[in-house]
């Protein structure tokens, strides 16, 4: 767009055409006060706080030329003859804006006086006090007195709950509609609205349950007054008493930047930290309200050792010595392969790295995994390290010219912030295609919705590929340079037409062809796949990989594949090598470990931060069969109750570390408080075990093929000779581990704490006049935006082989007509939800059925249904949803769901019937 030059308070600035006056003034360093305007929201001009004098050159109507005065300068006229709201007035050439004239000052004073006529002025008890734009602007621009008597003020009942998380104080509300617009435009949950008129105008919630949105907490951040406050932070502390600590949300693969606002080592609230690459300025409610677990009284405080049937408190020395003795005993009589290790994909990189180092180099066992081994758990097919998303990707800037395919994912439940990011891309003109077997919230955005049968998603991806080949939408140049096996792929697809593939998936051909065209023609193409895609299997993932390769959407910024693998740091677990295929010798997968444990081949295990025994009796049985089990966790989980030694660790607030998000951005979180109950970080636990083992005479091995073959920086290797000194295991702080990760793990070379701390521009951060825009709630990011790691595809010489093949259609099974699919849920009621205000929103286990299916089976909403598969059966209450496709039984994957009794794999064929309670004999 052409640039426009204008004068603001005597300063000449050049800004892009279409910029509004408030933004232009901000660029010029002039502060225009605003309430309703927010740079992330569309301007509406509701609060009239930004009134300014706008002078434009006078145009002669006859000649359409600028009228020039006697002094040779253009004659200026006041636009419309009165003050103009700056946020909705676009700049124009030659404009002159005056923001400090008497007329403007008078208007600002009057406006604030009006706003304060209905304001209770209870700043001393208001939670916004201290970061309140109304307070600050009143001090700066407002009248010092009011002509209104206090008794004349409008009074409402003090706060009313606007849902169970957010309270509304209607007296304080200035009706700027920021919250309503956020919910409508950004979150896509239009649950707020206005009610009444005039002085009785108020915000109401239109949904049932009230304020039903996963992003409701953000409204309290953008509220320019104290009208919206969170139930979590009501009257907890004054904002100036808080000590914000940069942290990363540990709940999902997005890796939102948050700050833990602490007061005297107590967590007061969680706030978003600005990072345009990750979460802009938003966080979801799970991150905001789901951090109370760190202060739960149920936290483990000291090591526990099993004596008889009971776990009894012990000292660290006793516990570590016992672990070392037992592990050495198992190694001696059953071999190193009889020891297995599981580490949670929520743990930071430092913990995962030392955990695998303990196994690979000290215990010399390759049996490592980060999955729980539940029967319904999908295999992880990872494209993040090979194709990945190009280095420098920033979804917040994408719009027209971008096509996004969301395949088999429910971002709202798996990685909530992606909903906002994808909605933003769609709103800016991007093309969004959602391919999922059941409806998700993304369907409500302007998106092309393709609904294949569950398990048949691969056929949609193949139909997309076939369309590309048929319509010659291939990026030929890219394919010749970097892709192999194109002819073979064409041969494999020769016998199939787009129509037959679409029929196999049960989808409309038009939509698939349109999606393929949009994706191929877009400048930027991104594929996001999630849990349902993983459940669908490797055929789908291979086809998706080929889709990005054939269209050339690989190896460039804003192009590629984003896998949403369950766990906050599953990406890190894969990169650090906490999976059986990472080392030279292949180890056992979790599911194989359970089998081995039952058969007595696996004798000892260390499980870090994971609870595989939860909702999975088979795993519990396998754990009981073990000779020796060590569990390190922050709670006494079901797995920990079966352990021989339980080691407490610090939560994310009590230590520092790094997490790698779905886009392979490594981000650092800081220690927010002294470790709770003096518990060590997970990496330190691994180090203590390793040191004890070495002290008892275990010879550590040299680093094996982990990483790119460079020797570890801390292991001194004499060049030319094979003399390797034993690894000292003398890490003092997490940064020592991070340095070793940077030195040894492929791609992590740039992830030292120094480089992670850099705040890269453009960032909003603290800018000269930020106080006007982001006054109040500070999103300041002092800890940097992290470092994105390059995938293999970012190397311009890397080539890839096309691997898509047409799977055989699954044979119909008349005895089991339904497909049972575990649907991920953000509010799953697991360990993180302890003491959280979100507890009432946790879903109880249930089964969602199509309305017609339910009618045919005579199942009423809420009644119990029996699910029978080849593996077993389970009973769940039914919910009826007419939007769920026929033949699909959706079971939310939440705490207590008895799915492992039924599932034979991620997709299970089941029969469903109304449950008859035999004990009572009635239905």
């Amino acid at each position: 767009m052409p640039d426009v030059t204008l004068v603001i308070d005597g300063q000449t600035v050049t800004v892009p055409a279409g910029t509004n006056i408030v933004d232009a003034a901000r660029i010029a360093g002039v502060a225009i006060p605003v309430f309703c305007y927010h740079p992330k929201l569309k301007p509406v001009g509701m609060c009239r706080m930004c009134l300014v004098e706008v002078w434009t050159p006078k145009i002669d109507p006859a000649t359409r030329q600028t009228v020039t005065g006697e002094d040779g300068r253009p004659v200026m006229t006041l636009m419309m003859g009165k003050l103009q709201p700056g946020c909705v007035t676009p700049v124009s050439e030659g404009m002159e804006v005056r923001t400090t004239t008497d007329r403007v000052r008078f208007a600002q004073k009057g406006q604030l006086e009006f706003l304060l006529t209905s304001h209770p002025l209870d700043c001393p008890v208001c939670d916004k006090g201290g970061e309140c734009p109304l307070q600050n602007l009143t001090m700066q621009f407002g009248p010092s007195t009011s002509r209104f008597d206090y008794a004349d003020k409008i009074h409402f009942e003090k706060p009313i709950p606007l849902g169970d998380l957010i309270y509304l104080d209607r007296e304080r509300c200035i009706l700027c509609s920021r919250c309503v617009r956020f919910q409508d435009d950004i979150a896509g949950d239009p649950v707020l609205g206005f009610d009444n008129r005039g002085r009785a105008w108020e915000i109401i919630s239109k949904s049932d349950p009230p304020f039903d949105s996963k992003f409701s907490g953000n409204t309290t951040d953008i509220c320019p007054v104290g009208a919206l406050t969170t139930a979590d932070f009501r009257f907890k502390a004054r904002v100036w008493e808080l000590r914000p600590t940069p942290s990363i949300c540990p709940h999902c693969p997005v890796g939102c930047n948050i700050s833990l606002d602490m007061r005297y080592d107590r967590l007061m609230r969680v706030m978003p930290r600005e990072n345009d690459y990750v979460n802009e300025i938003w966080i979801c409610d799970k991150g905001r309200f789901g951090m109370r677990f760190i202060e739960s009284p149920e936290r483990l405080r000291q090591p526990l050792i099993r004596k008889g049937d009971a776990l009894t408190p012990a000292t660290w020395d006793e516990a570590i010595t016992l672990i070392a003795e037992k592990l050495i005993a198992i190694r001696t009589h059953a071999g190193a392969a009889a020891i297995g290790g599981l580490a949670s994909p929520d743990l930071p990189n430092e913990d995962l790295y030392l955990f695998q180092k303990l196994f690979r180099q000290v215990l010399k066992s390759p049996n490592l995994d980060f999955q729980t081994g539940a029967p319904g758990e999908p295999e992880i097919v990872d494209l993040g390290a090979t194709l990945g998303v190009g280095k420098g990707t920033n979804l917040s800037g994408l719009g027209a010219g971008t096509a996004v395919l969301v395949v088999g994912a429910d971002p709202e439940e798996e990685a909530p912030l992606y909903v906002l990011r994808l909605r933003g891309i769609a709103a800016r003109g991007g093309d969004l295609t959602v391919i999922n077997p059941y409806p998700t919230k993304l369907d409500r955005t302007p998106a092309r919705v393709i609904r294949p049968r569950a398990g048949a998603e691969a056929f949609v991806a193949l139909a997309l590929l076939k369309t590309l080949i048929e319509e010659e939408l291939i990026a030929a140049d890219f394919v010749t340079r970097r892709v192999q096996g194109f002819d073979e792929l064409k041969a494999r697809l020769r016998d199939h037409s787009v129509t037959s593939l679409c029929d196999a998936a049960g989808v409309a051909e038009d939509a698939v062809r349109a999606a393929a065209r949009a994706f191929a023609k877009a400048d930027n193409g991104i594929v996001i796949y999630g849990r349902v895609a993983l459940a669908s299997g490797a055929d789908l993932i291979d086809a998706l990989a080929d889709l990005t390769l054939l269209t050339g959407h690989v190896g460039r910024p804003n192009n590629g594949v984003i896998p949403l693998i369950p766990g906050a740091n599953a990406r890190g677990a894969l990169d650090m090598g906490v999976h059986p295929g990472a080392g030279k010798k292949r180890g056992l997968k979790t599911r194989e470990m359970w089998a081995a444990a039952r058969e007595g081949r696996l004798r000892g295990m260390i499980i870090a931060g994971m609870d595989p025994a939860r909702d999975n009796p088979a795993a519990a049985e396998a754990l009981d069969a073990l000779e020796f089990l060590v569990v390190q966790d922050i709670f006494l989980t079901e797995t920990a109750q079966r352990a021989d030694v339980v080691l407490p660790t610090a939560s994310i607030a009590g230590r520092e570390g790094t997490l790698t998000n779905a886009e392979r951005r490594v981000q650092r979180f800081r220690q927010a408080r002294i470790p709770e109950f003096n518990t060590p970080a997970g990496w330190d636990v691994a180090q203590r075990i390793a040191r004890a083992l070495i002290a008892f005479g275990v010879e550590p091995a040299a680093p094996d093929g982990q990483g790119d073959g460079r020797s570890a920086s801390r292991t001194s290797t004499k060049t030319g000779s094979a003399t390797v000194l034993p690894d000292p295991w003398d890490y003092v702080v997490a940064g020592d581990v991070a340095d070793e990760i940077a030195a040894t793990v492929r791609g992590y070379a740039d992830t030292t704490y120094e480089s992670l701390g850099l705040t890269r521009k453009p960032q909003w951060g603290r800018q000269p006049n930020e106080a006007i825009f982001y006054d109040g709630t500070s999103y300041e990011n002092t800890e940097g935006v992290g470092v994105q790691i390059a995938a293999e595809a970012d190397n311009p010489k890397a080539t890839f082989t096309l691997r898509a093949r047409v799977p055989s259609s699954a044979a119909a099974d008349d005895a089991h007509p339904f497909v049972l699919l575990a649907a991920p849920r953000a509010y799953d009621g697991r360990a993180w939800s302890r003491d959280s205000k979100l507890l009432p929103r946790m879903v109880a286990p249930h089964l969602v059925l199509n309305a017609e299916d339910a009618a045919a089976l005579e199942i009423a909403p809420g009644s119990l249904v029996r699910i029978v598969s080849e593996a077993g059966s389970a009973v769940l209450p039914a919910q009826i949803d007419r939007n769920v496709p026929r033949g699909l039984a959706l079971a939310p994957d939440v705490n207590g769901a008895p799915l492992s009794a039924v599932q034979t794999g991620p997709l299970t064929r089941v029969a469903i019937m109304a449950h008859i309670d035999e004990t009572v004999g009635t239905r």
Binding site: P124, G129, A151, R234
Partner: protein, 165 residues
């Protein structure tokens, strides 16, 4: 020279019969000036409610960082103070306090007042921290009515505005 000695003794003799300016301190206490700044008190309203609303402005104003306020939400059925908020904990470290009176100035409800008590000595540092129980005046020693701005919790909401259609 002799004369000078008698002159001096005469002065001594004269003062011997005057009322002494010293007071016998622990038994006799001198009254302090009205604006003397001594040990703090947390005041109450006449109806016995605490004046302190837990706003922490005293703590913010305190140059010696001597005050700790931990606020909490009032139970509407049994409120500690008028309005929504009260101080669940209120502590002043008298070893840190410099008796500047800024807390008094900052207080929006005149809850914290530096009173005339000046005998502040402790056997250990811990007892130098005065808690809310130490600082609060007895319930029957309140004064003043609750100002309208603080009565909002019990106030009848305004009727909806009349709309002329």
């Amino acid at each position: 020279m002799i004369g000078a000695i008698f002159k001096g003794l005469g002065t001594t003799l004269r003062y011997l019969f005057r009322k002494p300016v010293t007071v016998e301190y622990p038994e006799v206490k001198r009254p302090v000036r009205e604006r003397f700044r001594g040990r703090h008190q947390l005041k109450r309203f006449a109806n016995g409610m605490e004046r302190c609303i837990g706003c922490s402005l005293c703590a913010a104003a305190c140059p010696a960082d001597a005050i700790l306020v931990v606020p909490a939400e009032n139970d509407p059925a049994a409120p500690h103070s008028p309005g929504e908020r009260y101080a669940a904990r209120y502590e002043i470290n008298m070893l840190r306090c410099i008796f500047c009176g800024y807390c008094e100035d900052a207080c929006p409800t005149n809850a914290i007042v530096l009173e005339h008590q000046y005998e502040l000595s402790f056997y250990d540092r811990r007892s130098s921290i005065l808690t809310k129980e130490d600082l609060l005046v007895p319930p029957d020693k309140g004064h003043g009515e609750i100002p309208p701005i603080l009565q909002q919790l019990n106030r009848r909401p305004s009727p909806p505005a009349q709309i002329d259609l």
